[in-house]
């Protein structure tokens, strides 16, 4: 692999996006220096439209001028390109399982959690229940493990920071504990392990600013729904 100093690595992302933060975790874990370009998703830059013409979404990783989109695809690209500190396991079956759970986080948990946004009463309770049902599967996966990747931080952990630091931070704001410790002791133990990892700790949004941002977003959504 080429020396990192000869590489040009740029990330188009948003400080508050779990999808762009996971790319920062992977790059930092690999020791790859990168330039971060904060994007305004309400007013998309011509650079973003040019680099991701199909989805027009962040994150986009630009490596020596070539763009890669979709966070799970980017994570695998990073692992293929900079093989030190691997994030995916080596064994094909374990790799398949890691991909399965990563997809599960993005296509099931994330989708279910988004249905809670802006809902009240029974509708919200149903959405919370549906999300918890999915989290129970993640809870089961964590039994006897420090990380979803086993003994160290891996692909699924990086993806599931979405649960640990977005879904679980939202908890306090919407007024329902979605992930109570009595119901999800393993997930809470895992979040503590994540927070002991310097890379994760430094790559997640600072809690105060993050909560302020989520609050403001929730308020704006409420106003719209009235």
């Amino acid at each position: 692999m080429a020396e990192s100093r000869s590489e040009e690595v740029k990330l188009l992302g948003m400080w508050v996006s779990p999808f762009s933060r996971r790319i920062e975790i992977a790059l930092t874990l690999k020791g790859v220096p990168y330039e971060f370009s904060e994007q305004d998703i309400t007013n998309k830059s011509s650079l973003l439209l040019q680099l991701n013409p199909v989805h027009k979404m962040i994150p986009v990783l630009v490596h020596n001028g070539k763009p890669i989109s979709e966070s799970l695809v980017i994570l695998e690209y990073i692992d293929d390109t900079w093989p030190n500190n691997p994030i995916l396991p080596q064994d094909p079956y374990d790799r398949a399982m890691a991909r399965f759970w990563a997809k599960f986080v993005d296509q099931q948990i994330y989708v279910a959690a988004m249905k809670m946004v802006g809902k009240i009463g029974e509708e919200r309770d149903a959405a919370v229940e549906a999300t918890r049902d999915l989290l129970k599967l993640l809870e089961k996966e964590l039994v006897g493990k420090d990380f979803l990747g086993g003994t160290s931080l891996g692909f699924v952990d990086i993806v599931a920071t979405l649960v640990a630091f977005w879904l679980m931070r939202t908890d306090e704001i919407i007024g329902v504990k979605i992930v109570p410790v009595e119901m999800f002791p393993e997930i809470h133990r895992w979040v503590k392990n994540l927070l002991q990892n310097d890379v994760v700790k430094n790559c997640i949004p600072p809690e105060d600013e993050h909560l302020k941002y989520i609050k403001a977003r929730m308020d704006s959504l409420k106003i719209k729904s009235v």
């Binding site: 695809v73 690209y77 790799r95 991909r99």
Partner: protein, 219 residues
């Protein structure tokens, strides 16, 4: 080598077709087990407790779910002479990007074409054609999505091709008029032995579509 490979599948599934093709391409012998999705077998529930969906690939007793993950698994376990995914990381990423695109952007509109009514159905048709055009632009003048070799994206998309006739007859339009290059690609793919073996006749799917609507409870 004593590998036991079982595939839990359902014949009209474009996702199951992917895995059938991938196994055929690698000359892996497998035991095909047709599933009744309206009366799920205990083996399906046991092997895919999370989604309870086909296809499930069971290799020496261990289940792998989700067709794109299965294709990649098959490619990693049986690399052979013609890998589905290129070895260059950037090319690999591009192939996976398009695989993801097919699942997230093409499948949804196809459901609207036959499962929705009125405006929604029309919107589904428009969206479907638009997504196919995006794919056609990506294909360009290449023989296959992977270039000269039949690969990951080709496998991901070709199952849909067997459904085109059903959509067309149902909604009275022609994919060929909209995307001639894509149809030419499909015709090239269905000449491959692995594809011939794995894709049902389009006519059979066209006849099946009204039955599917009935099973799901769409009038």
């Amino acid at each position: 080598m004593g590998d036991e490979v079982i595939l839990l599948d359902y014949w009209p599934s474009m996702f199951g077709m992917r895995t059938r093709i991938a196994l055929e391409e690698k000359n892996v012998k497998f035991d095909y087990k047709e599933q009744d999705l309206w009366n799920k077998s205990s083996i399906l529930l046991e092997m895919n407790p999370v989604h309870k969906k086909i296809p499930v690939l069971i290799h020496n007793g261990k289940p792998i779910c989700e067709s794109l993950i299965q294709i990649e698994y098959i490619d990693e376990v049986w690399p052979g002479k013609n890998p589905f995914l290129p070895s260059d990381p950037y090319q690999r990423a591009q192939a996976k990007f398009w695989g993801d695109f097919i699942d997230n952007k093409v499948y949804g509109p196809t459901r609207l074409i036959w499962g929705a009514k009125g405006e929604e159905q029309e919107a589904g048709k428009k969206e479907f054609i638009e997504m196919l055009r995006t794919l056609e632009a990506e294909l360009g003048d290449k023989v296959y999505f992977g270039g000269e070799t039949f690969g990951y994206v080709d496998i991901a998309l070709i199952g849909f091709y067997s459904w085109f006739e059903a959509y067309e007859k149902f909604r009275n339009f022609s994919v060929e008029e909209e995307c001639p290059k894509l149809i030419a690609w499909g015709k090239r793919c269905v000449k491959r032995e692995s594809v011939v073996k794995s894709l049902p006749d389009s006519e059979k799917i066209t006849k099946f579509l009204p039955q599917l609507r009935e099973k799901i409870g769409i009038e």
